[in-house]
Each structure stands twice: as structure tokens, then as C-alpha cells.
């Protein structure tokens, strides 16, 4: 009895317990997912400040890494878009969906740029095919991208070019729409993004407004444009 108890205790190492929990109870993975979503929103808000509370953002980033590692281990780490689609309150889904996509898109971007093929159409497929092992580094670069000046100038320039290219090739008229909307002062954006955390109604409305202005094209490209919008937003905040 005693020995069994002991053994059980030993084998109940965290990873196993965690992995079992993840498989057995969908609520655990759901909670983990919502924690991840929440953390990503917090991180994104950190990035909107020139000088965020460094301690806080480091701790949040470490939490994100930790969740990712665990998700990578039990194989649940993939593009969050389809996974989260049917669950949880809609407003959070919309917002975090964008955030997660932004993270992945940033990762997918670099190979896309290297290969001479048009960046836009490949993006989605590359995203969904990105292997799990790449995940941590991908999000990491997203996490700290805004802080490292030597890198971000270049990549933002690239992504800006890319956005122009995409928009021109697809829907030239939408460019004005996009920038008319984005031109509004960034504290509006603050309000929108803050609303994402606090209020429920503001958030999705704000983003839908942005989205509809930026992407009049059919549903499939809508998501991508949302991600690109996010980039533009980031650039604007940076500058």
C-alpha cells in the first residue's frame, strides 16, 4: 500500500499529470488556451507602450513560453485559429485570433520573402504547415520584436512593402480605405485594444470596423488582411 502510494507519487511527475490532464479533461486545455490568449493580449498591450513595465512583460512572456512548451509537448500546439474557433466567448476569440495570427504571420513572413514567389498567397499555407518545433522561436520574436530596434526597422519596412504589394495586386481601392482608418490617432486604437480586455462590446466592434475597412474582399482574404492590419497598427504605434 505504502509502496504503491510512493510509486504513484513518483510517477505523478508534472509533465505526465499535465499531459494526462490535458487529454482527459478538455477544460484544462481550454483554460490553458484562454490563459494563452489572455497573455498574448497583455503582451500586445505592452508593445503599444514605448517603455512597458519590463518586469511585467518579461513575466508574461515567460508564461507564454511555458504554455507553448507544454502545448508543444502534448501536441496541442498549432495555429490557434481553427482550434479556438468554436469555443469561448466570441469577443475574446476575435481579438486573440488576430494576435495569434500576427505572431505566426511574422514567423511565416521571412521565408516568404526569401522565396521569390508572391508573398500573400503562400502565407496561409505556410502558417498552417509550420512545424511545432519552430513555434517557440516564432512567438519569441514576436514578443520582443518591438524592443529590438536593430531588427524591427528592417522587418517592418519589409512587411510594409509586403502589405502594399498585396493590397495593390488584389484590391487597389482598399488601400485608401485601410489608411483612412488607420490614420486615426493611436489613442483611439488604445481605446479599442483596451476595450478588448475590459469591455466586451467595444472590442469586436472596433476590430470589425477596422477589418471591414481594410478588407472588402471575400472571407478567405479577410483574415489575412486582419493580420496585415495588425502589422500596420504596430508600425504606426512604433513610429
Amino acid at each position: 500500500m505504502f509502496a504503491r502510494g510512493l510509486k504513484r507519487k513518483c510517477s505523478d511527475g508534472e509533465e505526465i499529470a499535465v499531459a494526462e490532464g490535458a487529454l482527459a479533461t478538455p477544460s484544462y486545455s481550454l483554460q490553458r488556451q484562454s490563459l494563452l490568449d489572455m497573455s498574448l493580449v497583455k503582451l500586445q498591450l505592452c508593445h503599444m507602450l514605448v517603455e512597458p513595465n519590463l518586469c511585467r512583460s518579461v513575466l508574461i512572456a515567460n508564461t507564454v513560453r511555458q504554455i507553448q512548451e507544454e502545448m508543444t509537448q502534448d501536441g496541442t500546439w498549432r495555429v490557434p485559429v481553427p482550434q479556438t474557433a468554436g469555443r469561448g466567448p466570441l469577443d475574446r476569440l476575435v481579438s486573440t485570433d488576430i494576435l495569434c495570427r500576427a505572431a505566426w504571420e511574422q514567423q511565416g513572413e521571412h521565408p516568404a520573402l526569401d522565396s521569390a514567389s508572391g508573398p500573400a498567397p503562400d502565407l496561409l499555407s505556410e502558417l498552417s504547415m509550420a512545424p511545432c518545433a519552430q513555434a517557440p522561436s516564432g512567438v519569441q520574436s514576436c514578443v520582443w520584436g518591438a524592443h529590438s530596434p536593430r531588427e524591427n526597422k528592417g522587418s517592418f519596412q519589409k512587411s510594409l512593402d509586403q502589405i502594399f504589394e498585396t493590397l495593390e495586386s488584389k484590391a487597389p481601392s482598399s488601400v485608401e480605405g485601410l489608411f483612412a482608418d488607420v490614420d486615426s490617432p493611436y489613442y483611439d486604437l488604445d481605446a479599442v485594444l483596451t476595450g478588448m480586455v475590459r469591455g466586451k462590446s467595444v472590442s469586436s466592434d472596433g476590430f470589425e470596423a477596422l477589418a471591414s475597412a481594410g478588407a472588402p474582399s471575400p472571407s478567405s482574404s479577410c483574415k489575412r488582411d486582419l493580420g496585415e492590419l495588425d502589422h500596420v497598427v504596430e508600425i504606426l504605434v512604433e513610429t
Binding site: M38, L49, C55, T194
Partner: protein, 509 residues
């Protein structure tokens, strides 16, 4: 004694909207009502009976009420969105510190102001007034600034105040905001020279040709004035936010620590500092740890400690090398696997580190506990005290509303036998290291009458709630006690609760 330092004060009042309030913001509220209690002080008894001595309310009542509402609605936001539209936010006390004799008590607030309180002088016929503190001096230490290079607003909030040991009639203190440390001299003047004929009334030198005689000035008594003058400004040495300053026991140097670096300064030299710790990685993407607090050893001027967001403490010896990248001692407790969660790292992040007066121990505060470490044992603390363990099950919501990032501080009593730290709901905790007893007290307007004994509070953990207990769910997380101070030799404590400063004293029969 009294306050008068309107020179500086008035200047700032024109600038700062808050000073336009009807009576200014300084209305010390000390009420000597209640029956005179025979008081004496006995160090070492700590968590006995405490009475409220006075409550020093910094702003007006009007702004107090409006602020409480504001805090509720802005709870989620205020820690990561800078916002100055709520003027009353400026009144929130952000640091409290006794001087080395305990005669003075300084507070700094989010509005960049320093208020110094002085202990009421003892007198035979006013025994009950002992331990009361009145406003002595107030000045605007830091102003909001704008960094044009980074296009960034630098908050005026006072992050820390540290007194220098007194060496003459004047008092000196260091105050710091996120970027700039200032050395202030606070001195009294009760005489002025009269009959000086080299200068005119406005203090300008007269044309020597017009002076035919020399008159020797005479010092005449005048109303006591307390002047605060900035003596040194130590700027432009920190890229990140300064979280700690600490005066060295050599009295000639001090250090300032930000998230990634620690600098060493000489009090006389403002244009040069020495970087003694730098944990900034070459690539910021690899950043996983920050410095959260730092302090010099109270007696050994070559030794200091700093704590990190990973829950570790490093002790460094400046004799070993100029850049203390390698620690001399490394204090870390192995993680308890049974308590592991996604929040483990966040709650183990150290928010404050303090040497004991003796220099033998270090106390650290993390989110849920206070730990006491022996300098001679690095692998685990010798004592661990639970501050509010009932919050362990609420970590997710505390993460969501950002409370989990609150930086609680901790203090020792004069004899290192009792430690004190804050919690939520205006509660603060004391732990007697000898008897292992602990107590939860509350600093609140409603529940504490002057000279009444503070009633220990209890938080109900699961099960049935008793009559005078409060349940975890009804705790007010917007009312947090982050900053407290303990008189260096007596059992007098100062507790900052948002914009109120409470002074409690132990009641000994």
C-alpha cells in the same frame, strides 16, 4: 513645529492642477481625541495590540472620494496605460520611509511630491500626543518630463526615498522617479540677517559707489521656516525604470538599480556613475529575467544584494571585480512541485529585498510569502511566512486583473524580531519571528478610531464564515497596502493606504 515652505510649494501650485484645490492638498488630519492611553514603547513585542495614533490624509476629502471610484473602474488598466487624466491619482502614496532616528517620516506620491512629517515633541502635559506626526515640510521633488529622443513621457512618481544619516543640523534625503535621482537638503531657518546694506530689499547688490558706510548685519529671530533645496541631480544614467536606491554604509556612495542594471554613484559627483551590475542580454529577445530590487549591506560597504523576477537573490562583493557580473552568493529555494502552475514564476518573483538591521539576514517578499534568509545558507530560506495563501486558488483572476504584478514591500522592526508586509483589502500582516505568531490588521478609515485598539482581522478560508471574518471573495483588491515603514527603534509603524498614511503604535499596558 510647523510647516512652512510655501516658496517651492507655491511655485508648483501654479503648475499642477491639484494645487488649485480649495485648501491646497495639505490638510493633515490628526485627531487627538479618545482617552489618553499610557504609552511606552518596548521593542521586540511586535504583534501585540496596536492603536491608531493618527491618520494623515494628504489630499482633500473630495478628491479622496472620487479617487476611490476611479480606482474601481480603472483597476484593469492603470498599470499599463499611462494616463494623467485622473488628477487624484497623483495623491496615491508610492513610498514611505523613516529617517535614522525616527523623528522624521517621509512619503513620496505619484504626483512627484515629497511630504515630510515630524514627530510631535514630547511634553509632560500631553502624554497622549506622543507618537503623533505632523507635516514638517513638503516639496515637489520631481516634475513630469518629456524625453524627446524617445518621444516618451517620464512620470513624476516617486519610486523610492532614502534618508542619509544625519551629520549636521540639516537633513538629507534621496528621492527617485523612473529615471532621475535627486539629493534634497531639508533645513530649518529661524533667524534672518537684518541691517545688511550691501544689498537692497530684493537681495540685489547695490552699486558700491553709493555705499558710504558698512553696517554689520544682526541676526533676528523669525518664524521657523523649513526649506527643501535640491543639492544634486543624478540624471541620464538609467535606460530602464529605477526600482531601488540604497545609501551605502560608507555614507559617500549610493546605488540605483533599474530593471537591468545597477549603478554606483558618489554623492558629490553627478555626471559620472559606475555600472556595477548589467544583466541586459546582447539580444533582448533572450531576456527572461529582470532586477526587481537591490540594497547595500547595512555595515559592509562592499556588499550588496539584488533580487530578480525569477525569485533568486544574488549577493555581490564589489571587491571581487569592478563589474559584479559574478555573484558571491546565490540564494534560491528549490521549487515545490506540488504547487507548480503556470503562475509559479510570476508569484515567485521578488518584489522587495531588505537586509536586517544586524546585517545577518535578508528578507524577501514575493507575491504570496515573506521569506527570511540567513546569509550563511543559500539553498533555502530559514523562515517562510504565508501572507495571504488563500489567494493561491485565485491566481488566474489576479493575473487577469494584473494584481499578480503588484509590488508589495516588507520591513523589519527595530530589533529584527518582527516583520511586516502588506496585503489587499487594506490589510497588513505582522509576523513575530520568535513566537511564530502572526496577525492581520486593517488600515481603514471606517474601522479605526484614534487610540482604539486595532482588531485583528481574519479572512475566512472555505467552509463557514464566522461573524467577524471576511470571505476571500469580498476582499477589495483595489485597496492594497504596498508600502509600510517601521520606526528604527520603537514600535511605531506607518502604513500607506492609497492616499492615507496611518500611524500606529503598540499599546503596552
Amino acid at each position: 513645529m510647523l510647516l512652512s515652505l510655501p516658496a517651492l510649494h507655491l511655485q508648483t501650485s501654479e503648475y499642477h492642477p491639484l494645487f488649485q484645490l480649495p485648501h491646497g492638498r495639505l490638510g493633515p488630519w490628526c485627531s487627538p481625541t479618545g482617552s489618553p492611553a499610557p504609552l511606552s514603547c518596548e521593542t521586540g513585542c511586535g504583534e501585540g495590540s496596536w492603536i491608531l495614533v493618527c491618520r494623515l490624509l494628504v489630499p482633500t476629502q473630495v478628491s479622496l472620494l472620487s479617487m476611490e471610484e476611479d480606482i474601481d473602474t480603472r483597476k484593469i488598466n492603470n498599470s499599463f496605460l499611462r494616463d494623467h487624466s485622473y488628477a487624484t491619482e497623483a495623491d496615491i502614496i508610492s513610498t514611505v520611509e523613516f529617517n535614522h532616528t525616527g523623528e522624521l517620516l517621509a512619503t513620496g506620491d505619484k504626483g512627484g511630491r515629497v511630504v515630510i512629517f515630524q514627530r510631535e515633541q514630547e511634553s509632560k502635559n500631553q502624554v497622549h500626543r506622543r507618537g503623533e506626526y505632523n507635516v514638517y515640510s513638503t516639496f515637489q521633488s520631481h516634475e513630469p518630463e518629456f524625453d524627446y529622443l524617445k518621444s516618451l513621457e517620464i512620470e513624476e512618481k516617486i519610486n523610492k526615498i532614502r534618508w542619509l544619516p544625519q551629520q549636521n543640523a540639516a537633513y538629507f534625503l534621496l528621492s527617485t522617479n523612473d529615471k532621475t535621482v535627486k539629493l534634497w537638503k531639508v533645513s530649518e531657518r529661524d533667524k534672518r540677517p537684518e541691517g545688511y546694506n550691501l544689498k537692497d530689499e530684493e537681495g540685489r547688490l547695490r552699486d558700491p559707489a553709493t555705499i558710504t558706510t558698512l553696517r554689520v548685519p544682526v541676526l533676528r529671530p523669525m518664524d521657523l521656516m523649513v526649506e527643501a533645496t535640491p543639492r544634486r541631480v543624478f540624471a541620464n544614467a538609467h535606460t530602464y525604470h529605477i526600482n531601488s536606491i540604497s545609501v551605502n554604509s560608507d555614507y559617500e556612495t549610493y546605488m540605483s538599480a533599474d530593471d537591468l542594471r545597477i549603478n554606483l554613484w558618489n554623492f558629490e559627483i553627478t555626471n559620472q556613475s559606475f555600472n556595477i551590475v548589467d544583466i541586459k542580454p546582447a539580444n533582448m529577445e533572450e531576456l527572461t529575467e529582470v532586477i526587481t530590487a537591490a540594497e547595500f549591506h547595512p555595515h559592509h560597504c562592499n556588499t550588496f544584494v539584488y533580487s530578480s523576477s525569477k525569485g533568486t537573490i544574488r549577493l555581490c562583493d564589489m571587491r571581487a571585480s569592478a563589474l559584479c557580473d559574478r555573484h558571491t552568493k546565490f540564494f534560491e529555494e528549490p521549487e515545490d512541485p506540488s504547487n507548480r502552475s503556470f503562475f509559479s514564476e510570476i508569484i515567485s518573483s521578488i518584489s522587495d529585498v531588505k537586509f536586517s538591521h544586524s546585517g545577518r539576514y535578508i528578507m524577501t517578499r514575493d507575491y504570496l510569502t515573506v521569506k527570511v534568509w540567513d546569509l550563511n545558507m543559500e539553498n533555502r530560506p530559514i523562515e517562510t511566512y504565508q501572507v495571504h495563501d488563500y489567494l493561491r486558488s485565485k491566481l488566474c483572476s489576479l493575473y487577469e486583473n494584473d494584481c499578480i504584478f503588484d509590488k508589495f514591500e516588507c520591513v523589519w522592526n527595530g530589533s529584527d524580531s518582527v516583520i511586516m508586509t502588506g496585503s489587499y483589502n487594506n490589510f497588513f500582516r505582522m509576523f513575530d519571528r520568535n513566537t511564530k505568531r502572526d496577525v492581520t490588521l486593517e488600515a481603514s478609515r471606517e474601522n479605526s478610531k484614534p487610540r482604539a485598539i486595532l482588531k485583528p482581522r481574519k479572512v475566512c478560508v472555505g467552509g463557514k464564515r464566522r461573524k467577524d471574518e471576511i470571505s476571500v471573495d469580498s476582499l477589495d483588491f483595489s485597496k492594497k497596502i504596498l508600502h509600510t515603514a517601521w520606526h528604527p527603534s520603537e514600535n511605531i509603524i506607518a502604513v500607506a493606504a492609497t492616499n492615507n498614511l496611518y500611524i500606529f503604535q503598540d499599546k503596552v499596558n
